[in-house]
Amino acid sequence: MNRREIILGGASAVAVLGATGLSAQQPAEVLIGAVYQMSGASAQVGVDAQHAFDTALDIINNAHDIDLPLAKNAGLAGLGGAKVRVIVADHQGDPQKGRAEAERLITREKVAALIGSYQSAVAVTISQTAERYQVPFLSADNSSPSLHRQGLKFYFRAAAHDEMFSKAMFDFFDGLRQKGHKIETLALFHEDTIFGTDSANAQQKLADERGYKIVTNIKYRANSPSLTAEVQQLKTADADVLMPSSYTTDGILLVKTMGELGYRPKAMVAQDAGFSEKALYDAVGDKIEGVISRASFSLDLAAKRPSVGKINEMFKARSGKDLNDLTSREFMGLLILADGIDRAKSTDGEKIREALTATDIPGERTIMPWKRVKFGPDGQNLDADPVLLQWTGGKFVTIFPQSAAIAEAKWPMNA
């Protein structure tokens, strides 16, 4: 914007104000702060999240004939039709910057609530800051189970956490065992921040309980220049199932290095993150035909929930991509948060918190495979059923649980 545009803009604003006579009835704007990584290694996640939020804002601020919360009328009815605006802040993947940005959004931008943040490690500091200022934080796409166990009152998560996801994986393994498949040994491969370690701990626990042997458990350094030695260890172990918990960069390097070292895992079941990203499948999808990833979302749900297709089209028009596991949760997260503010009829943190606690949205009114959205006392939605997807022929197909499955799983992926 150059100087002339600013002056013109200011002049027209004054004209508009004059015309409407500064009517006090104009509903105020409700601000929500989104803390995401907008620069650095995972910046694409932040950029995509912004498109998801813009799609959600379109639903909230305009009238749509879609069966989702807040779609029917324009703006928040509970606040006299107030529009919602999202302010995006960049946490750069750094928990300390996440804390600072959350604080800035609350104290300077006066946001009514926060949403975030992809990396679980950053969600820890954001959730604690939100708690201190008594502002609700909706954890849209963080999956670490330790987040809702911090004893926070202003923390909410509508989606599943890694223990629920890992449980779905082991339920799936149990089912395969009953059908006569041999699954004895597992190899864990996880990155060294809270996401990877929590995921591996959950998997270790479930494996012990259900009688699977973990033959190797590799904790690697995130964004390593090389993963050769790590993959060599995976190759030596040659477990029945390789279970990676990796972000996109490491996921791509893992698959490329496996190819270079001639290691074809018998089966791969991934803890989402990088393995739900289009970039990974663009880069190495052909090398891992049949890989399975847990997910909160799948496009073939459109067969059961018509809103999925419509929202996907709206999102795709903005981003050029299909909704994925992350963007679907970000979209839904913002709707749930705005729905809470709408019912609170206030932008006061405590009132919004109370309204969110009373949330009860049936699964049919979401774009997710969830049974419903209802937060427990720790802020976790226990009815967020995860699904398992298999990458076949260039797309994801839901294979688990039976109620959502579109196809039978191909097992093992490399026979």
Binding site: S39, G40, A41, S42, A43, Q44, G46, V47, D192, I218, K219, Y220, R221, N223, S224, P225, S226, T228, A229, E230, Q232, Q233, T236, T248, T249, I252, L253, K256, G259, E260, L261, G262, E277, A279, L280, D282, A283, V284, K287
Partner: protein, 292 residues
């Protein structure tokens, strides 16, 4: 661990080490020439990778054939950066060291920001090339062809550098300018010209590394950072300004990384590198081959 497994780890470590050395060579060259540490070195690497990706995407040329174009472009970029930025930073009256640090650091951040704006932060990778995904199997030890090419080019580059520095007029001018930038003016050597060529050469070296790495690594605006960090350690370990020290140190870093990822927990493999670095700095503060 089997003997074969051990051989694999050593071979992979050496191949990676040769690439680390190649990345560090340009950094070391520039430092040796004019005592400037280029904190935008990782971004140079990133630009070379994007340039390779761009040429491959636009012309469907194989990345191996695109490499000479990329290296040429990086040479021009390096010389341009010297003339447009560094030359002015060196005119500072006070605190010249800090001015240079901030100039290159700021340049790095600017390049990264521009890359994110222009190329988007999405991850790219080159899908098809003659070499990608192809591996040489030597008695169960897998040697990926792209890394082999990287190693070979790294060795060739060091041989070529040796000849350029020791046997050509340009090399002698480089050495002389580094000894006394004021005195060379008296014998008709243009200091700025030598420095610009030095920067061009340094950037071209990292361009070679970038165009090979684009075949087997993912590409995004921040891809240079972890490699640049290793390059700084490599240069300090080998001795500031010693190009062949960079070769030895690069190999050492590659090996130590591979071995410590195997015997320690892989998340701690960087500790091995820094432990060796600390030991060397304690015993020999100027680095393995430093002559400062």
């Amino acid at each position: 661990m089997t003997l074969q497994g051990l051989a694999q780890i050593l071979a992979s470590g050496l191949l990676m080490g040769l690439i680390y050395a190649l990345i560090a060579a340009g950094l070391s060259l520039i430092f040796g020439l004019m005592d400037v540490v280029n904190f935008a070195h990782g971004e140079f690497l990133m630009l070379a990778m994007y340039a390779t990706f761009g040429i491959v995407a636009a012309t469907a040329l194989d990345p191996v054939l695109a490499a000479p174009l990329v290296v040429g472009a990086m040479f021009v970029l390096g010389a341009f950066v010297y003339l447009a930025v560094i030359r002015h930073a060196m005119r500072a009256k006070a605190n010249i060291g800090m001015v240079q640090v901030f100039a290159t650091f700021g340049l790095g951040i600017t390049i990264r920001g521009l890359a994110q704006h222009l190329f988007t932060p999405d991850y790219r990778s080159i899908q098809t090339s003659w070499l990608s995904g192809r591996t040489l199997d030597v008695a169960g030890v897998f040697l990926p062809l792209p890394q082999l090419l990287g190693g070979a080019l790294s060795c060739l580059s060091f041989v070529a550098l040796y000849f350029v520095i020791r046997r050509t007029d340009f090399g002698r001018a480089l050495e002389a300018t580094r000894e006394d930038a004021g005195a060379v003016a008296l014998v008709g050597i243009d200091k700025n010209r030598v420095f610009a060529l030095g920067w061009g050469l340094g950037a071209a070296l990292v361009g070679i590394a970038g165009s090979v790495m684009a075949i087997f690594y993912y590409i995004h605006p921040d891809v240079g950072a972890p490699f640049a960090l290793i390059a700084y350690v490599t240069v300090a370990l080998g001795g500031f300004g010693s190009i062949f020290g960079a070769l030895a140190a690069g190999l050492l870093v590659g090996l130590v990384e591979a071995v410590s990822a195997t015997i320690l927990e892989p998340s701690m493999k960087a500790i091995g590198i820094y432990a060796v670095y600390l030991v060397v700095v304690f015993m020999r503060p100027r680095g393995l081959f430093g002559n400062l």
